[in-house]
Structures are given as C-alpha cells and as structure tokens.
C-alpha cells in the first residue's frame, strides 16, 4: 500500500496510471449524465408546490455537494503536499482550486435561477447561498495567489496552506452564517430545511450526484495530465512521448 502510494507520487508513473483511468471515467460520466438527466427531467414527477422549476436541483444540489467535496479533497492534498512535498499532490491542489470554483459558481448560478420562481428574486441572503458565495471567495483567493506566485512549487505550497486553513474555517463560517441567517429571517429556515425527498426524486438526484463525482475525477485527471506534461516538458520521458505521437 505504502509502496503503491510512493510510486503514484512520481509524476511519470502517475501520468501512465491516470491514463488508464481517463477513458473509463469519461465513459461513466457520459452514461450517468444521460441517465440522470433523462430520469430527472422527464421521468421524475413535478413538484406539487414548485411545479417544474424544482428540476434545477438535479444540477444545483450535486454542484453544491461537489463544491464542498472538492474543497476537502484539496485540503487533504494540501496537507500531503505540505508534509511530504510530493509534486502530484501539489498539482491536485492547484487543479482542485479551479474545478472547485467552477462547481461553486455553478451551484450559485443555478441557485439564483431557482430563486427567481421560488422567492421571486434572484438573490436572497439565505444561509446556503451566502455560505456558497463565501466558499467561492475562498476558492478565488486561492486561485488569485496561486497565479501571483511565479515559482509553481512555492505557489502550490501557499495554496496548500490556504486550503488547510480554509477547511478548518469552513465549518465555523458555515455555522456562523446559518446562525446569522436564522437571526434575521426566521421563516427562511423552513424553506431550506426541505422535508424528506420523495424516492422518485431522490434516485435521479443520487444518479446525478454520482455523475458529478465521476466527472470531477475525470476532469481532475485530465487537467493534471496536461499540467504534468507542461511541467515535465524538458524531461526525456515527455520528449519521447511527444515524439511517438
């Protein structure tokens, strides 16, 4: 196990290893997305309160889940990068920041689109949207400082520190925002505390969540492989690889 992980931390080995996974992840993403979208948009029944507009949750909820999940992945990779200084985990951190920001933005945009028919306004200072907005700020901060530092290894370690600091802070921020929002809008709590979801809506939701998950890893692997090729462009194995293709 330990040896296996050590092997994976070599860029060349990781490149070859991830290459085997990419087609599978891509295939699963496509299949799960098709199934999930069809089930969610056409099979699942309309909501008795919100009608058809609720269907955006099949994108919104998985995106919101992923926005947190990616942050945790990034923080764990950041911790590994700080302690063991492995290049692969450094690249995971910088790529996760971009992908995570993307999911967060998607969750925010779909949340706002959903808010218009539900609340009658695109933006409510509701606990979840506000937390998501702050999460986006955290991601953007990491991306900004990462791009401000020229040396890619230093940049990755700075981003790692921020990711680890952030992951300690996120529960605190989340708690404080929830508490603040309950203080100002006691009625909002009812809306965000959704009653148990009916299985006919839950299953497509879970399929979509799985699709997002697989999509994330596929995207992460592809982006990391690009970055590895760029970083190692002067080494022999990359030159040989490029010559072969």
């Amino acid at each position: 196990m330990w040896n296996y992980l050590r092997k994976l931390s070599s860029l060349k080995y990781y490149y070859e290893w991830s290459g085997k996974w990419v087609p599978w992840l891509t295939g699963f993403t496509v299949v799960l997305m098709i199934v999930g979208f069809y089930w969610g948009l056409f099979v699942a029944p309309a909501d008795y309160q919100q009608g058809e507009s609720y269907r955006i949750i099949f994108v919104h909820v998985p995106a919101a889940w992923m926005s947190m999940f990616v942050y945790v992945v990034m923080a764990v990779a950041g911790f590994i990068a700080l302690v063991w200084r492995t290049k692969v985990s450094e690249i995971v951190v910088s790529e996760c920041a971009v992908i995570g920001a993307m999911f967060t933005a998607l969750a925010l945009i779909t949340g706002m689109l959903w808010g218009k028919p539900t609340w009658g306004t695109y933006w409510q200072w509701d606990a979840r949207l506000t937390s998501e907005l702050i999460l986006l700020f955290l991601y953007l901060g990491i991306i900004a400082i990462h791009s401000a530092i020229e040396d890619s290894r230093v940049a990755a370690r700075v981003a790692s520190i921020l990711a680890v600091t952030g992951v300690i802070n996120i529960p605190i921020i989340h708690y404080s925002v929830t508490w603040w929002s309950s203080l100002h809008q006691p009625n909002m709590q009812l809306l965000s505390k959704s009653p148990s979801v009916h299985p006919s809506m839950l299953y497509p939701l879970l399929v979509m969540a799985a699709a997002f998950q697989v999509y994330f890893f596929g995207l992460l692997f592809i982006r990391m492989r690009n970055e590895i090729l760029y970083r190692e462009r002067l080494t022999n194995w990359v030159k040989k690889l490029l010559a072969r293709n």
């Binding site: 700020f137 400082i145 230093v154 370690r157 700075v158 802070n169």
Partner: protein, 222 residues
C-alpha cells in the same frame, strides 16, 4: 523560553515606538472611514444607530486588514525573518511574540477609539461595554488570522489586494458574532452566546494560528 518571547515583543514595540508617527495611522484611518458613513448614508440618529454595530465592525475589519499587511514586511526587507528561523527557540513562539506586539500596537488603540466613534454613530451608552468586550476579544483574532495571510503575501508585489481576498472571508464569523452582540445589547437582549463564540474563536486562533503563520513564513522565504 518566556524570556525570548518577551524579548521579541520588547524589540518590536521599541521599533514601533521609534516610528511614533506611524502609530496613529490605524486610528486615523478608523476615524476617517467612520465619518464617511453619515455622509454617505444619512445623519439621521435612528437610522445610523441601527446600522452602527455593523458599520463599527466593518470598519474595524478594514483597519485590521490594512495594519496587518505590514506585520512582516520590514522583517522580510531587513532579513530578520531568516534570523528568527536560525534561533534554537520554537519558531511559532517567536512569531507569536511578533503578533502579540502587533496587536499591542494596532489593536489596543482600537479599544480607545472604537467606543468614541460608536458614540458618533449614536450607539447608546448601555451598549458600549459590550462593544468594548467584542473589540477586546475580536481584534486579537483578526491579528492572528490576518498574520497568516500577511505571511503568505509578504514576498509578493501588490500583496495588499490579495491579502484582502484571502483574509476578509475568514473574518466573517468575527463580524457576525461581534456586530450581533452589539445590536443585541442595544435591544437589551442577552449577549453571552455571541461573546462565548468570540472567546472560543480567540482560543482556537491562539492555538492554531502561530503554527500556520510560521509555516507560511517558511514558504514565503523559499
């Protein structure tokens, strides 16, 4: 060990005192920003006093952000950071001494000026003690958390903006609990919950931040 901690604090205070003119800057900044609000919003007593807890604390956040930016800058320029890392004493202890000195220089004046400015924004006298306690508990958190960001941006050009992007989101819980404590006390409600949260936040920051700051400085040095 305590000795070297106190030595670091004493040196930083001495350096700050030799540059007396700069000591007043955060306070002046605070006063000037506070005067902008009645001009920009409305001088109406009722209206202002309703906004005041938030305004007071947003201004405190900004003042803390601006003053924390320079906490390590001089040490980076004159090479003292490297010397700290060659000391046999724990680096986080030395760095903690620097943050304490920084808080004494920039946070303590806030304890004097903020209640005064609060009066200009028509916060009633009964809420001032609570405001004072929130400043006492909150500003050290701002210094500790801000120092992490300052350590990461110390070697960068144009680090100021970046620092704001990194640190302000982390300041949000302090803003929420502190300003809510002040408004609650204006309404005569209990504030022990908010103050307890601030206290817990301070303890957490005291325990964790020194390590994060020294790790950040190490990275910025390389």
């Amino acid at each position: 060990m305590l000795n070297v901690f106190l030595t670091v604090i004493r040196r930083d205070l001495l350096v700050a005192f030799r540059r007396r003119a700069e000591l007043m800057n955060p306070v002046l900044f605070y006063v000037i920003v506070t005067t902008l609000f009645p001009l920009g919003v409305s001088p109406d007593v009722h209206f202002l006093s309703q906004l005041a807890p938030g305004l007071v604390w947003v201004t405190t956040l900004l003042a803390a952000l601006i003053s924390v930016e320079s906490i390590f800058r001089q040490d980076f320029e004159d090479g003292s950071i490297e010397q700290l890392f060659l000391s046999p004493h724990p680096i986080s202890l030395l760095i903690f001494g620097k943050v304490v000195a920084h808080w004494l220089i920039t946070g303590v004046p806030m304890l004097g000026i903020v209640p005064l400015m609060a009066l200009l924004l028509h916060i009633p006298g009964q809420a001032l003690p609570v405001l004072w306690v929130t400043i006492l508990l909150g500003t050290p958190i701002l210094s500790l958390v801000g120092a992490i960001g300052a350590a990461l941006t110390a070697g960068l050009r144009g680090g100021g903006m970046l620092l704001g992007m990194l640190v302000l989101p982390l300041y949000i819980p302090v803003l929420i609990f502190a300003s809510s404590a002040v408004s609650a006390s204006m309404d005569g409600l209990a504030v022990s919950g908010q103050l307890a949260m601030l206290g817990a936040g301070l303890i957490l920051a005291l325990i964790l931040a020194p390590f994060a700051i020294s790790a950040s400085l190490r990275i910025s040095m390389g």
